[in-house]
Structure formats: structure tokens, C-alpha cells
Symmetry: C2
Subunit: 255 residues, 2 copies
């Protein structure tokens, strides 16, 4: 079974094929050195060389202490985000981008404490967070492209002094759970759709032609029914796609 | 505790308040006569009068043998559809609209058997259905408004002669399960976003100003990994919203 191709090359080729076919998606972790050693019964030198090869060819990037992640290579490829389930909702906006090879950047336009609280209409329901509420309005960039114009309202009753923390590099949901020990019950999100025209001063995208945008409204509920966060955000329609995977319930029993 | 208002009026008022507040959504079933009898300890005459009152005031509509359903009242209110979970994916497009008080109508633009099968790119994956495949291209209206321009490709290998059935008034997914006895594994859907400009001959919406549309790509997989259906559809962005509700896993154990 000897061929002219060195073993590490044939492994890296297999990994690259899986990236090209979409089996490994941007942001996905490719198998680690140890996993390659087990899978292919090769030495750690060979496994390391395989991963290096994938990285040198520009398909993936090693993040120290975390693993090797598939890059989002093509210029016009959309960034796909899973709308549910819960563990996807919890992921940090910035960390997702870093794993896909982008450089994230935030511009905080506003960070205000509203004493009166805030009300909003999500999915035809009327929701209220009692004051005081932290309003944080951020522009979220990847490689100097404004991807998302995001406003969040966070209950300061449930999360006292959360404005003292670094809010830019962590998932807020994990902060609610870990710092404030809140039991989160569910997340409701509604995705609408609109057009932003050039020169509309209400928006920050500075698009030169009309642009479709996703309008996301969301609320995060605690176990006692109180709302810890509401969100109103705009995602560029030319850069984003949202996906869901739905499985029948009890599918395991059916097998 | 006697008040001037007859009992049936106070019950109908309560139901209407729940519709107004969003607790009961368009398409939701309001409590039945028997449920009202139990809830309020009233006679069946009172319960019946309460439901009739809600209907007469234009908030709901009785569908014979099915129940009384909340109408989608306001002109510019969006139609909201849940993107997952699976049971929501299975709902019939037409039945959903009927429950909300619309009159659905389908125009079949094309119904073709493709011998060669079809391939598509969903969520950066490349998917294939082997031929023969039934292509069905339908315009789906509610009250003479074109809501959805829908193309589905259905495997005729997995669903022989499905083109003989009435495809317009049933959920196709329930046909795959019930008529062809297929075990469905999961549904993948990706939601993109684009602008349709007036006079673009590729589309049927006939909008007079630029319109944002959702672009839905989907695939339904059987347990053996084969694809039974692929979909490519456009939903009017000014009429539709998509929603998800995500819950943490193991939330029951945490209580």
C-alpha cells in the first residue's frame, strides 16, 4: 500500500477535502494531534506535520491552547449562525469570529443606565424589564466590516454592577449564569427583515446601495419568569445566514 | 361579588385581553367550551356565549370540528413562523393560514419530473437527491397576497408516485411519514436575506418598491442519510417573521 505521497500529506489532504466539502465548517475544530494519532495510527511528528500543512495551505488556523480551527476563506462567503439551540445562543460573538479567522472589534456607541426600565414587543408579546437597566449599544466589526449593530438591555436588578465587567470579550449569557448565578429558562428570538437605504442617518452601516438586513429581537428569561436581557440588533443580510437543525422528538426511541 | 356585567361577557373580555396582550397568538386555539366550563364553573350556555362573543367581536373564528382560533387581525401585522422544532416544521402552510383567518391559495407554476436528480448548496454543504425527482414550483397566497414563492424537489425513489396525491392541502412531511413510512432524521434550514427589485422578471412578487425577502434553503433527511426533499423558497420580508425558542438542555434536572 506504499504510495509516493508521504503519510502526513495524505492526512492533510483528507482534512482539506472535508473542509472543501463542507463536512468541516468555518469555526469548526479539526481533529487534534492526538486524535490524528489514534485515527491514522501515526507518530506525533506526522500528526503535527499534517496539521501544519493544513494551516500553511491557508485552510485553518491554530489558536494556542485551543486547537486548530477552520477559517472562513472566501471573500463573499456568508457567516452562518445557528439560531437555536441554547448552547449556540450562548456562544460569544467575538470568539466565533476569531475561530473563523476574523479580527473582531467593538465600538461602544452608548452605555447608559436607564432608571425607568424598558418595554419591547417581541413576537407580538409585550415584554418589560424593570429599571434600573443597562443599555449597551455596540457596533460589532470583523476585519473592519460592520456586521452587527446591537442594542442590549440588561437588568441591573438581576445583574448588579455588570457594567463594571469587560462586556466585549465574553458571552453575556455565560456571565449571567456564572457571575450572577441566574438559572436561565429560555431564549426567545424573532428574525425580521428590512431594507436599509444609503444615507439613512438612523443606521451605521454606511452602505452605498440598498441593503437587506436581518432584524433580531430577543429576550432571555430566568427561571422565575423575569427577563434578564432584551436585544434589538441588525445583521447585514449580505454577510449573514441563520440556520436551524430540527430533529423529531423521541427519535432515539424510534431507532 | 355580583357586578353589572353578565358572566359570559367577563369571560369573553378575559379571552380578548389575552389575545391583545399576545398571550394567545394568531392561529392559537382559545379554550374550548368544555375547558371554559371547567375553568370558570359556568353552564355550557354561558361558555358557548363567551366564545360566540369573542368571534362576533372579530378576534377569533370557529372552525367546525376543530375549535376556535385567534385571527391575525391587523393589516400590517407580520405572520410569525417558528423555524424549529420539528413539530413546527411539519405544520401545513395552508392550515396555519386558515387558523389565522386567511384564505390560502396555491398557483402551481411547474410540476416536472427530473430524471437526473438535483444538487444544491445548503449551509455551505453540497447536497444531492438522485433522480427521478419531482420538482414542484408553487406560488402561495393568503387573501390574494403572494407570501411565498416555493420550489421543492422530492425524491421519487423514496416517494413513488407522490405526484398523484393532492400536494396542496397537506403537509408534505406528514405524507413522507404516513404514506411512505419514512423515518425522518432531521431537517436543516438556512435563512438568507436579499432584496428583490421591481420588474425583476425572475420573481413573481410584482412589488412596486424594493422588497426585502427571506431566502430559505432546506433539506429533509431520512434515517439512512438519504434526502427526501430539498426546498428553495422566498418569503416576503414585509409579511414574515421567523422565531425560535431555545431552552437550556437538562433544565429540568437543574430545578
Amino acid at each position: 500500500m506504499k504510495s509516493g505521497i508521504p503519510k502526513y500529506k495524505s492526512i492533510s489532504k483528507e482534512i482539506i477535502q472535508k473542509i472543501e466539502s463542507g463536512e468541516f465548517q468555518p469555526g469548526d475544530k479539526v481533529p487534534s494531534e492526538n486524535e490524528l494519532i489514534d485515527m491514522y495510527e501515526v507518530s506525533n511528528t506526522t500528526a503535527r506535520k499534517s496539521l501544519l500543512e493544513v494551516e500553511l495551505e491557508g485552510w485553518a488556523k491554530r489558536i494556542k491552547g485551543k486547537g486548530t480551527f477552520v477559517l472562513n476563506r472566501s471573500e463573499d462567503r456568508h457567516i452562518t449562525r445557528v439560531l437555536g439551540p441554547f448552547h449556540a445562543v450562548k456562544e460569544s460573538f467575538n470568539e466565533n469570529l476569531i475561530r473563523e479567522g476574523f479580527t473582531p472589534r467593538n465600538v461602544v456607541l452608548e452605555k447608559t443606565i436607564l432608571d425607568d426600565g424598558i418595554s419591547s414587543n417581541i413576537n407580538n408579546h409585550h415584554y418589560i424589564i424593570k429599571g434600573p437597566v443597562l443599555k449597551i449599544h455596540r457596533l460589532r466589526y470583523a476585519d473592519d466590516i460592520l456586521l452587527k449593530d446591537e442594542v442590549r438591555y440588561i437588568s441591573l436588578t438581576l445583574c448588579p454592577k455588570i457594567n463594571m465587567h469587560d462586556l466585549d470579550n465574553r458571552s453575556l449569557i455565560s456571565m449571567y449564569e456564572n457571575i450572577y448565578d441566574l438559572q436561565l429558562k429560555n431564549v426567545e428570538r424573532t428574525l425580521g427583515n428590512t431594507i436599509i437605504y444609503p444615507l439613512d442617518q438612523k443606521y451605521y452601516f454606511e452602505n452605498e446601495i440598498p441593503m437587506a438586513v436581518f432584524v433580531l429581537d430577543g429576550a432571555i428569561f430566568c427561571n422565575d419568569g423575569e427577563i434578564v436581557e432584551m436585544e434589538q440588533s441588525y445583521y447585514r443580510g449580505d454577510k449573514y445566514k441563520f440556520s436551524i437543525v430540527a430533529k423529531p422528538q423521541f427519535s432515539i426511541n424510534k431507532n
